[in-house]
Symmetry: C2
DNA sequence: AGTTACCTTTACGTTAACGTCAACTTGAGC
DNA sequence: GCTCAAGTTGACGTTAACGTAAAGGTAACT
């Protein structure tokens, strides 16, 4: 942390507002071991790093991941791995995630096509009503 | 249904095996009003149409949709809409789905980039161990 | 000193999406 | 006629991811 890194901090309700979630949710993620904010007395103080983790969790949610899955993904980001076994396990997980994401990509593309078709039918039905 | 349409049927465990889910799950989807198989006495008999619906539900699950959301998506497929108001509501839903899907697409692409970076770091760490 | 606005912990409640028995029926094969 | 696999209907249990209320602390205005 040199003099250039701003080292911003956030209160729990700052983050709650920004991401449109409740403070309860944020505390719940901490209970689940996914966040470990500093404390000023009792009060939680969140860093930019905490904020990024929260973003990752919420992105995971949007993609339908459980908290456990999101935690695994987040753990991929720290290079704390010290032995080769861990690293190979990590690569396996990364590969797994890739496969899952490509399945999702395929699902989304199929679905987009189907939405196109659905809208076609919808417009067609509207044209009939007007005629 | 002309003489060319095969009109295959499936037992509950046929579908359970094919999609790797339990029969309880399939009955649950019926309770939730998402499937209405024929009956032979007590026994449920599933058509190709039921099978397609099940596929849609499961794809929805992979994309993180709730059953309620999947149901809405499925309802987009039948052109039972009779008045313009319904049709406009349908188009709104289709548009909503599109937005959600594009958010997911963006999330996935960001995530894929991050996985690339994570794998890079992982391989780098492995190279260091070997040196 | 009182009110307001946040923050805290503790703890019980809720909803979705099934899991897991238990007790029964039903058709196929021996 | 017996067994056995596969089906059925309840009905209660479970887990994840929070919601919600109770009871209280703290710092800043007024």
């Amino acid at each position: 942390m040199n003099e250039m890194t701003k080292a911003r901090t956030y209160s729990i309700s700052d983050l709650a507002r920004e991401f449109d979630i409740t403070t309860r949710t944020i505390r719940f993620y901490e209970e689940a071991g996914m966040l470990e904010p500093e404390r000023n007395g009792q009060t939680r103080i969140y860093s930019d790093e905490d904020r990024v983790k929260l973003k990752l969790i919420l992105r995971g949610k949007r993609l339908g991941f459980s908290l456990a899955e999101s935690r695994e993904l987040i753990e991929m980001y720290d290079p704390t791995s010290d032995n080769a076994k861990q690293l190979h396990a990590l690569r396996a997980k990364i590969q797994q995630s890739r496969v899952a994401l490509e399945q999702q990509l395929a699902d989304i593309q199929v679905m987009q096509n189907e939405l196109d078709a659905a809208e076609e039918r919808c417009q067609e039905a509207l044209r009939e009503l007007e005629s």
